[in-house]
């Protein structure tokens, strides 16, 4: 059991490292999926609410390191998304891939929505309809797809169904 748990958190750590490698080291920007949010949301389902909030805050803060005008916004957004993600265990106990994809899609969309709203309060000028109804769902679908693929690889590597 402890070994399986260790493997899962190693998988989460690999997603985080991969995220920064793609976005920061290779500078791919939006052409690479948001694996940091995927890692945070997947991890949030395995810990209590407070632990999930802490995980979201730490990973969000890492994402904010190079943010000059909205430092902390990603931390706040990911804290809320991860806490709510942790509480979804009260409603859905299952671990199916379909649920996983839907969970990642909605979690990423929620994160982007909260991040946008926090940016608006700091004088953001982007068009809300464009961001929330066009860019955010596309980014959420991309992240969910990438997360699903990562989950399949992780489960097949661990011999799970």
């Amino acid at each position: 059991m402890a070994g399986r748990r260790g493997k899962f958190w190693l998988f989460v750590a690999i997603l985080v490292v991969l995220h920064f490698t793609l976005h920061l080291t290779l500078g791919l920007g939006r052409s690479a999926p948001d694996l940091l949010t995927v890692a945070a949301l997947l991890g949030a389902r395995r810990v209590p609410g407070a632990g999930a909030a802490l995980l979201g805050a730490v990973l969000g803060l890492l994402n904010d390191v190079l943010s000059l005008t909205s430092f902390g916004a990603s931390a706040v957004a990911l804290t809320v998304a991860c806490y709510l993600g942790s509480r979804t265990r009260d409603l859905f106990e299952g671990d199916s891939l379909l649920f996983g994809a839907l969970y990642l899609f909605l979690g990423k969309w929620l994160h982007d929505t909260l991040y946008f709203l926090l940016g608006l309060s700091r004088g953001g000028t982007d068009d809300a309809v464009n961001v929330l109804l066009t860019n955010a769902p596309i980014a959420a679908a991309y992240a969910a797809g990438a997360g699903l693929l990562a989950l399949i690889l992780f489960r097949s590597a661990g011999g799970e169904r």
Binding site: R30, L54, G60, L62, L66, S67
Partner: protein, 293 residues
């Protein structure tokens, strides 16, 4: 009943702890910018250091790899040679343009490589591989051979982070190259960053700037006079008899920039001659061919 109470108490405790974490995150978000800068600098120097260092190393290797690519191309086929030489010629032209620009500027500017940042929260910003040790400071302007790219906002010892003109907080006091119309240049964001353009706002309502006219910094703000910002595309909006705004085609596309010049001095002298902005547009579009030495 006992189990239910224990579970409820645990949940309340869990929710309270989560609330505390959220409050901490909000505190970080609301902290004064100076304090945030300290946290950012420390995290850049620790948690993100391997990623940033690797990116710099990759950039350096890419530069070294040009020769290898050329050699392989020569060996393989004439077509590949042509392609490699085309890339090399482009690289050469870009470096020559940067060097040429530097020769026309005072020794107050130092060359730097641009490190693009692909993180969403760092949108419209970029890193340069020069820092406080090289004389760079907050507010240093960043130039390319084509014109103004942006301004340094945060400085580490050997690295600095800058905003480019697509950043919502970018502003530059500007004028038409002939000095007839003054205003403020800011970004007009598109759906994607590639669609962003500049706008000259606050121009007087009776002004009539035709398409193709060049707009430069006026020297009234942090930027020295005469740095090329863009060329007028047309009217953006007219504000009920008071003011007009004009859309500008930016002189510099941030996503294409690889090398820049960063100002390390305090010189605010007129840079109009560097871009030869007082000459007719057809002879001044390229500073190298315009003979602006």
């Amino acid at each position: 009943m006992l189990d239910f109470d224990v579970t409820r108490r645990e949940r309340q405790r869990d929710a309270a702890l989560a609330g505390g974490v959220l409050a901490l995150a909000f505190f970080l978000w609301l902290m004064p910018p100076d304090w945030q800068g300290v946290v950012r600098a420390n995290m850049r120097a620790t948690a993100l250091r391997p990623f940033l260092a690797t990116q710099e190393a990759i950039g350096a290797r890419r530069a070294l790899g040009v020769d290898v690519v050329q050699l392989r191309a020569q060996r393989d086929s004439l077509g590949a040679v042509a392609a490699a030489q085309g890339t090399l010629a482009e690289e050469n032209a870009r470096l020559r343009a940067t060097l040429g620009l530097r020769s026309r500027l005072a020794e107050e500017y130092i060359p730097a490589d641009v490190i693009q940042v692909g993180l969403d929260p760092a949108e419209s910003t970029f890193l340069v591989n020069v820092g406080a040790a090289d004389g760079v400071r907050e507010g240093s302007i960043v130039l390319t051979p084509e014109g103004l790219l942006g301004e340094i906002w945060e400085v580490d010892e050997h690295r600095a982070q800058a905003i480019d003109w697509t950043h919502p907080e970018f502003r530059a006091s500007a004028m038409t190259a002939d000095g007839e119309v003054y205003g403020l240049v800011e970004v007009r964001r598109g759906r994607y960053r590639e669609e962003d353009v500049l706008a000259l706002t606050g121009a007087s309502f009776h002004s009539d700037i035709g398409p193709g006219r060049r707009v430069v910094t006026s020297g009234r703000g942090v930027y020295p006079r005469g740095i090329l910002l863009g060329t007028v595309l047309g009217i953006d909006e007219a504000d009920t008899g008071w003011r007009k705004s004009y859309l500008l085609l930016p002189a510099v596309r941030p996503e294409a920039v690889r090398t820049v010049l960063v100002r390390v001095g305090q010189d605010q002298s007129d840079l109009s001659d560097v871009w030869n902005v007082s000459a007719p547009p057809d002879t001044a579009s390229n500073p190298d061919t315009a003979g602006g030495g």
